[in-house]
Every structure is written in structure tokens, then in C-alpha cells.
């Protein structure tokens, strides 16, 4: 027997198909991957440490920068954790607006995934359609929050502003139009022979193994486990809406693709129900520590002015206690383990990033496949490095 020599190939961190700064050290035998070591941390900003020295409201924009492709879902997870610890609940109208924003975030995240994933594998057309529609969602984000990518719209105790008539009109139009666009994506890819050859039976993982690796979200559902935080632990009125949890069978790249494509449909379904049944009422809790006094109040009432200063300069004291609160982000279970010590800063905030554990399963998924399939597998797991590295 001859000694077979392996070649070490360094993929990333500056590689367009790694969607950020993921680096995977591949050991190759010919074109087959025999060993893979993911290296992360190139985008580590120490968000958990920064959080320990900021007030609860100042942390909110930082959570936008975790999974920046689906920012509102992160806002929602963080706000729900703080609200749970404070023992308050957002008004019903705010909860519905939150759901709309979180589902927009999911659609935006999936658009980014669809466009880049198809581009990586060689289907160039898809990204133009995906980004055209993503632009429409971002325009709606801009309409209601003033920001496109990182809205920071969901605040502790409610949401920042009420929905404008223009926003509701735009959402209705989008809900009506989007299923047609989705049909277009399906026509481009779902039965495309090149696409199915590149994705079927690639990076397959069984349900038990996926669970053992801590995989959540579409990647776990692609393996056939119907675990969705929105259904299992409903939050923010998700139990008011009627939606399905799509699951795959084989847990390969193609099944993860189908699950996400179906999630587009379910998300738009949820948004349609939320916008039609939008309850009336306030969008911010009446807790005086959280609701900013209005401008006219501040100009005419000294105590309101002082309160405004206290809220924004000193921060909100949150009671002592610990809790784990999770939401379904675009990539999976996004958890916040929050430890409060009675002050205005969290004692510890641990962010459970879904893609962190997806990335840890990379060696298992890559070994045995070709180098070109590595691109398909990495694309199908939908990494966002802002979340992995925090």
C-alpha cells in the first residue's frame, strides 16, 4: 500500500462563500474532505462583556448586531427576557407588531440565505429576485422604524412607534404579492436538475445526531424534528396565529432548502393574520420606568422631564433573578440567559446563538464530501458570523 498524502486547504476567513469570516481548515485527500476544523472568532466583539457595563436599554442596539440579517428577532428575544424578569407584558397591539417585525426578519434572513446559497452553488439568477423582494421588506422596516437593516424597533415594554396607515397598506400589498414571487423562486430551483443534483444527499444528518449536536431551527427541522420555539413555548401571542411547522425527511441540503422555502409561506401567512387582526390600543406598557414621557409632557411638567432623564441616563433597575428565555430566530433557537442583580445593568447576559452550535457540527457534515459540496453545506446552514462570534 502506498502512503496517501493529504493536502491542507485553508478556506476563509476571506472567502465569499463562508458568508462572513468563518474559516474552515480542510484536510483533503484528492478532492475528498477527510478532516475539517472550523475556526471562529474573527468577528468577536465581546458583546456579552459590553452588556455587563451598559444599561438595559443601551444593550438593545447591540442585539441588532448579532444576527444582522434578521435583526428584529434578536430584539424580540432580548426584550422578552428582560420583560419576563421585570414581570411585565407588552400590550396586545405591540405584541402583534412584534410578530410582524420578527416574521419580516425571518423573511429577510431567508432571502439573504436563498440568494447567496444559490449563488454559491452556481445559480446566479436567484439572488436578483431574492434581493429585489428583500428590498421591499427593508422599505417596510424603514417605514415603521426608520431603519432598514437594524431597526431596534422592538423596545423593552413594547415597540417604538405605532404603525402608520402607509405601513399597513404596504404590508397588505406585500402579503398579496409575495406568494407569486415565492412561486418564481420555486420555478427557478425546486425541480431544477442541477440544483437537485448539487443538494440531494449532501450533508445529510439523522435526527438523533442533529439533536446531539444542538442543532435547532430549519436545520433540525430538515432532519425531521418538528421543534419550533414558536409552537412549543409560544411567546408574544404566537398561539393566536394558525401556522404549520414544515419538516424534512433526510436532513440533507435539499430538505433544509425545502423547509426554509415553506417557512417563507408560513411567515407571510402569519403576517397576513396579524395585520388583519391588529388589535387597537397602546403600543407601550404604562410602566413609568419604561415609557418615555411625551415631548409635550416634558415641556410642561418638571417631573416628566426628570423622569425622562432618569430613564435615559440612569437606566431601568431590573429585579434580581435568573432566567432563560428563547425565541425562534431565523436560524433556530435564540436564547438569552439573563442574570439580574437589581441594578440597571445585567450581571451576566449569555446569548445562545443557534448558528454557534450549527458551526460545531461542521466537521461531522463535511467529512466524506467533495470540496465543492462544502460550499453547499455551509450555505445550507445559513451562518451569520455576527451571531457565532458575538
Amino acid at each position: 500500500m502506498t502512503d496517501r498524502k493529504t493536502v491542507t486547504l485553508n478556506m476563509g476567513p476571506h472567502h465569499p462563500a463562508t458568508h462572513g469570516v468563518l474559516r474552515v481548515v480542510l484536510e483533503l485527500d484528492g478532492e475528498t474532505i477527510v478532516n475539517a476544523t472550523p475556526v471562529i472568532g474573527y468577528l468577536h466583539r465581546g458583546i456579552e462583556k459590553i452588556c455587563e457595563n451598559r444599561t438595559y436599554q443601551q444593550i438593545l442596539p447591540l442585539t441588532d448586531r448579532l444576527d444582522y440579517a434578521a435583526a428584529s428577532a434578536n430584539n424580540m428575544g432580548y426584550c422578552l427576557a428582560v420583560e419576563k424578569l421585570m414581570g411585565i407584558e407588552a400590550p396586545k397591539r405591540a405584541q402583534y407588531l412584534r410578530v410582524i417585525m420578527a416574521e419580516f426578519a425571518r423573511i429577510m434572513g431567508h432571502h439573504l440565505w436563498l440568494g447567496t446559497h444559490a449563488l454559491d452553488i452556481g445559480a446566479m439568477t436567484v439572488i436578483f429576485y431574492a434581493f429585489r423582494d428583500r428590498e421591499m421588506v427593508m422599505a417596510m422596516n424603514e417605514e415603521i422604524a426608520g431603519y432598514r437593516l437594524t431597526p431596534s424597533f422592538i423596545r423593552i415594554g413594547g415597540v417604538a412607534y405605532d404603525a402608520t396607515d402607509d405601513f399597513i397598506l404596504k404590508v397588505r400589498k406585500f402579503v398579496e404579492w409575495f406568494p407569486k414571487a415565492l412561486e418564481g423562486y420555486h420555478q427557478l430551483l425546486t425541480e431544477n436538475k442541477i440544483w437537485t443534483t448539487r443538494t440531494m444527499n449532501i450533508g445529510a444528518i439523522s435526527a438523533e445526531e442533529a439533536i446531539n449536536y444542538g442543532m435547532t431551527g430549519p436545520s433540525l427541522r430538515g432532519a425531521g424534528v418538528a421543534y419550533d420555539v414558536r409552537k412549543v413555548f409560544p411567546y408574544s401571542s404566537y398561539d393566536d396565529f394558525d401556522f404549520k411547522i414544515p419538516v424534512g425527511e433526510n436532513g440533507d441540503v435539499y430538505d433544509r432548502y425545502l423547509v426554509r422555502m415553506e417557512e417563507f409561506k408560513q411567515s407571510i401567512n402569519i403576517i397576513a393574520q396579524a395585520i388583519e387582526n391588529l388589535p387597537s390600543g397602546p403600543v407601550m406598557t404604562d410602566n413609568p420606568w419604561l415609557a418615555n414621557p411625551s415631548l409635550s409632557e416634558v415641556q410642561n411638567d418638571l417631573s416628566a422631564l426628570i423622569r425622562r432623564f432618569m430613564i435615559n441616563a440612569k437606566g431601568v433597575p431590573v429585579p434580581e433573578g435568573e432566567l432563560y428565555s428563547a425565541v425562534e430566530g431565523a436560524k433556530g433557537e435564540l436564547g438569552f440567559y439573563l442574570v439580574g442583580d437589581g441594578s440597571e445593568h445585567p450581571y451576566r447576559l449569555k446569548i445562545r446563538a443557534p448558528t454557534f452550535y450549527l458551526a460545531s457540527a461542521l466537521p461531522r457534515l463535511l467529512v466524506g464530501h467533495m470540496v465543492a459540496d462544502a460550499i453547499a453545506i455551509i450555505g445550507s446552514l445559513d451562518f451569520v458570523l455576527g451571531e457565532i462570534d458575538r
Binding site: K49, I211, N212, Y227, A359, A361, R390
Partner: protein, 163 residues
């Protein structure tokens, strides 16, 4: 329901292992004695907690033992959560559970990197978010937030396995 069953099965298999039980805003939690920790985790895996959602470490500095470690478990059968708390002191080695759940591999590496808690029996205990020759552990409460040597530049020459 399942939690009570799990806890009673646990106290049968590993007596005196559960020091305290608590409920943290809906998530049941057990505090486990250090010496029986690995056996408890193995038993819980056998009882159906097949996903290790996350490993959380926290520094409670003036206290001895200094650190709290939290393992968030979940059963995919009926979607019940259970948190297992373990106290660890500085320099104390905690048995790694990466042989039971693969997700512990990176979860424990992160705790090792940011808090400096060492895990015995871990297959690949290296820094994960900071670089290899980084000094200190950022999430410890005595880590300086600013200062002269606080932000040393990254030097690839001192890293042994820089491909």
C-alpha cells in the same frame, strides 16, 4: 410532570447528588454536587434529555467557589427543559460532558476561553472566540476594561498552529 419523574429517578440512581431544587421563571433547575456531576449528567441523558441547549458560565467573584456553571438540557420527546447547576472554584477541573452531548464540545470551549474554567477529558480544549496567545479571560469580573496592556495587537508569529 416529567421533571418530577426524572428527579426521583435521579435520586434513586445517584443518592445525595441533588443539593437544591429551584424554579427559575418556569425552568426547573437542580444544583448538583461536584463529585457526582458526571454520573448525574449520564443518567439524565438516559432519562431522555437528549439535547444540551447551552452551557452558561458566570463569575461571582468574591464568592468561593467562584464560578457557577449552568447546563441547559432539553428533552425532544415532550420538550421539557431542565437546568443543571454546578459550582466550581478557580483552578478546579470540571469533568467534560462532550462525550455525552456533542454540543458540549464548543459550549465548554467557550466557557474555558471566556471564564478560564478547565474541563477534564475534553477532546480539544482550546480557545475559541479569542486567539491562542490572548491573555486573561474576558468574562471574569476582574478582567480590566481599559488600561495600558489591555488591547495587545494580534501577533500570528507566536501562534503555533497558524496554517
Amino acid at each position: 410532570m416529567q421533571i418530577d419523574k426524572a428527579v426521583s429517578a435521579l435520586s434513586e440512581k445517584c443518592p445525595d447528588s441533588i443539593l437544591k431544587r429551584a424554579d427559575r421563571h418556569g425552568t426547573p433547575e437542580i444544583t448538583v454536587a461536584g463529585e457526582s456531576f458526571y454520573k448525574v449528567m449520564e443518567t439524565l441523558r438516559g432519562l431522555g434529555f437528549d439535547m444540551l441547549t447551552d452551557v452558561v458560565g458566570m463569575d461571582l467573584m468574591p464568592r468561593t467557589p467562584r464560578f457557577n456553571l449552568l447546563y441547559l438540557l432539553m428533552s425532544m420527546e415532550d420538550f421539557s427543559r431542565l437546568a443543571v447547576r454546578l459550582q466550581a472554584d478557580e483552578g478546579q477541573e470540571v469533568p467534560s460532558v462532550s462525550g455525552i452531548w456533542h454540543s458540549a464540545n464548543w459550549g465548554e470551549r467557550e466557557v474555558f476561553d471566556l471564564l478560564g474554567i478547565s474541563f477534564s477529558g475534553h477532546p480539544d480544549l482550546r480557545r475559541i472566540l479569542t486567539w491562542e496567545n490572548f491573555e486573561g479571560h474576558p468574562l471574569r469580573k476582574d478582567f480590566p476594561l481599559e488600561g495600558k496592556d489591555f488591547d495587545k495587537p494580534f501577533d500570528p508569529d507566536t501562534i503555533s498552529d497558524y496554517f
